[in-house]
Amino acid sequence: MDKNFAARRRRDLVIAAMLAALAALAPLFVKNVYIQNIMVLTLMYAALSQSWNILSGYCGQISLGHALYFGIGAYTTELLFTKFGVLPWFGMLAGGAIAAVIAMGLGYPFFRLRGHYFVIATIVIAEIGLLLFQNWEWAGAAMGITIPVRGDSWLKFQFMRSKLPYFYFALALCCLAWFVTWWLEDSKWGFWWRAVKDNPEAAESLGVVVFNSKMGAAAVSAFLVAIGGAFYAQFLAYIDPESVMGFQFSLLMALPAVLGGIGTLWGPVLGAAILIPMTELTRSYIGGSGRGVDLIVYGGLIVAISLALPQGLVSLFSRSKAKGATR
């Protein structure tokens, strides 16, 4: 059993390395800017969903307010850049750190709540953040911030001519989030989290400090999501509160992990790889009329997948794998 587990982990790592290498080569063949754009978004959502999955999937604390950390990452980076001229790279780290600290500060009261009360609290706190930013004149209020163009450079993490640098950064972020998850899965934290998720009372009695485990998961998760937020802001060169902190965004972030397989290593990547291109393609091919057909298709698919595969798309693979094992 133990040997199988170690072998599976090694295989996961090899597969991930191969997929990352393939993805890195993809721009050589795909020159279409529209497709490249979709690839960047797919990688970004995979990274976000993977980060969300750490707290909500592995540790079982369902958060539908992660847009808060995403928004904090985006706003910290851009406020530091536009108001104080701090390079986005530092702003990104600052945003991540602030988000992690806020996540832990909120964790104190929040992690005493259970079930629906916890979920609604996460929604509500993100909504408060949204309203505050919408009314914060210095930060651009509801109009948001337009990031000034200072020319293409890695130093300023700004590229107008080509999307490729963004693509490689998104790929790196996705790999980082995946690798952190992979690494944590087999660490003592990973085992604590699963214990906390399955039965907090039993975990506590066996010496797992439930509260600290949740705090750790929240901090890692918030940090990574905030980095994603900083990236998104640089990528779009424009942010406003509704688009980076809205409730819809919290759901969009959770969706790939849920449809792919919540609390699994591959679920978020798989979910994002299918969901995001599909969303973008339906939006541009049948959504142009503004008549809502794209929404009907998109929503219908979410209903269908979540009902047909409650354990996510990864269960398709594990089922065939389980068959192979018994043979």
């Binding site: 369902i62 539908l64 009261p109 005493r112 709540l113 259970r114 079930g115 629906h116 009360y117 609604i120 609290a121 929604i123 509500v124 706190i125 909504e127 408060i128 309203l131 505050l132 919408q134 009314n135 409730f247 759901l251 969706l255 849920v258 449809l259 919540i262 503004g290 008549r291 809502g292 057909v293 794209d294 929404l295 009907i296 298709v297 998109y298 929503g299 219908g300 698919l301 979410i302 209903v303 269908a304 979540s306 009902l307 409650p310 354990q311 996510g312």
Partner: protein
């Protein structure tokens, strides 16, 4: 206004609160109710006040169908039941918004010249808008009716028993699906009623539900899951807090007070004010 939130929340209190099924399409149920009322008015010139029972009946059928076609299967999921419920109803909400855009167009609509619209009544020197007053009255009646229904009838007992232990109720001959389908129908009918009344004084558009749904969730949770009275109290508190915040902060921040009060309440009482779950 508080009683109006209560009216929107009462249907959710039944579905989310009592049956413990997450419904992320609640706001869209409200939206459908408003449109139904709007079209009955424009095409058949039936005043929203008269058509309200019709709208409620239509929503009853719709809610029961949603349960039978979607939610029933979501509840059957062995793993991640909570997430499956959240995202299957969220998907449904997106489909409903899409359908509304397709058939009703994204235009803002309103009902002009209804019996109640724009009229005010003077009570002891204070002018109160009539539609809101009727809404408040209906809200109190709806809560009283639901309270009676849950606590005094066999159906109410069957409903609570089914939530507690679906296996055991099957042994005493209660069909879980029939009980829950009826519960969903009733919950949808109540929000349909809310929609019919709100159609009189609110703009109607495909996304209208989203803004009210969140406050409805907060209202139910504030009062505590599993308590009809809690949801009623929650509605009144939410309304009062909103009015008070509006006095102190700019209007765009008025919801902040509601959210802050929710957090404060659950930090002190993690099961809401009157919650049993």
């Amino acid at each position: 206004m508080g009683l109006l939130y209560g009216l929107i929340a009462v249907g959710l209190a039944l579905i989310f609160g009592l049956m413990d099924v997450t419904n992320f399409a609640h706001g869209e149920f409200l939206m459908i109710g408003m449109y139904a009322s709007f079209f009955l008015f424009t095409f058949f010139a039936i005043d929203p006040l008269l058509s309200a029972p019709l709208v409620a009946a239509a929503l009853f059928v719709f809610g029961a169908l949603v349960y039978l076609l979607i939610v029933r299967f979501a509840m059957r999921a062995k793993a991640n039941a909570g997430m499956v419920q959240i995202f299957s109803t969220f998907g449904l909400a997106i489909v409903m918004r899409g359908l509304a855009q397709l058939f009703f167009t994204p235009d803002y609509r309103s009902i002009p010249h209804s019996w109640l619209g724009g009229k005010t009544i003077s009570v002891a020197g204070i002018f109160l808008p009539e539609p809101q007053l009727v809404g408040a009255l209906v809200s109190i009646l709806a809560f009283a009716g639901l309270y009676f229904f849950i606590h005094r009838t066999d159906f109410g007992r069957a409903l609570e028993a089914t939530r507690e232990d679906p296996g055991a109720v099957a042994l005493v001959g209660i069909d879980k699906n029939r009980v829950f389908a009826f519960g969903w129908g009733l919950g949808a009918a109540l929000v349909g009623l809310a929609g019919a009344i709100m159609a009189v004084f609110f703009y109607i558009y495909p996304d209208v539900g989203a803004s009210f749904a969140l406050i409805a969730y907060v209202t139910v949770a504030l009062g505590g899951f599993g308590s009809v009275f809690g949801a009623f109290a929650g509605g009144i508190i939410v309304g009062l807090v909103e009015a008070m915040t509006a006095l102190m902060l700019p209007p765009s921040l008025k919801s902040v007070g509601i959210y802050a009060v929710y957090l404060l309440v659950v930090f002190i009482r993690p099961r809401g004010l009157f919650g049993s779950m």
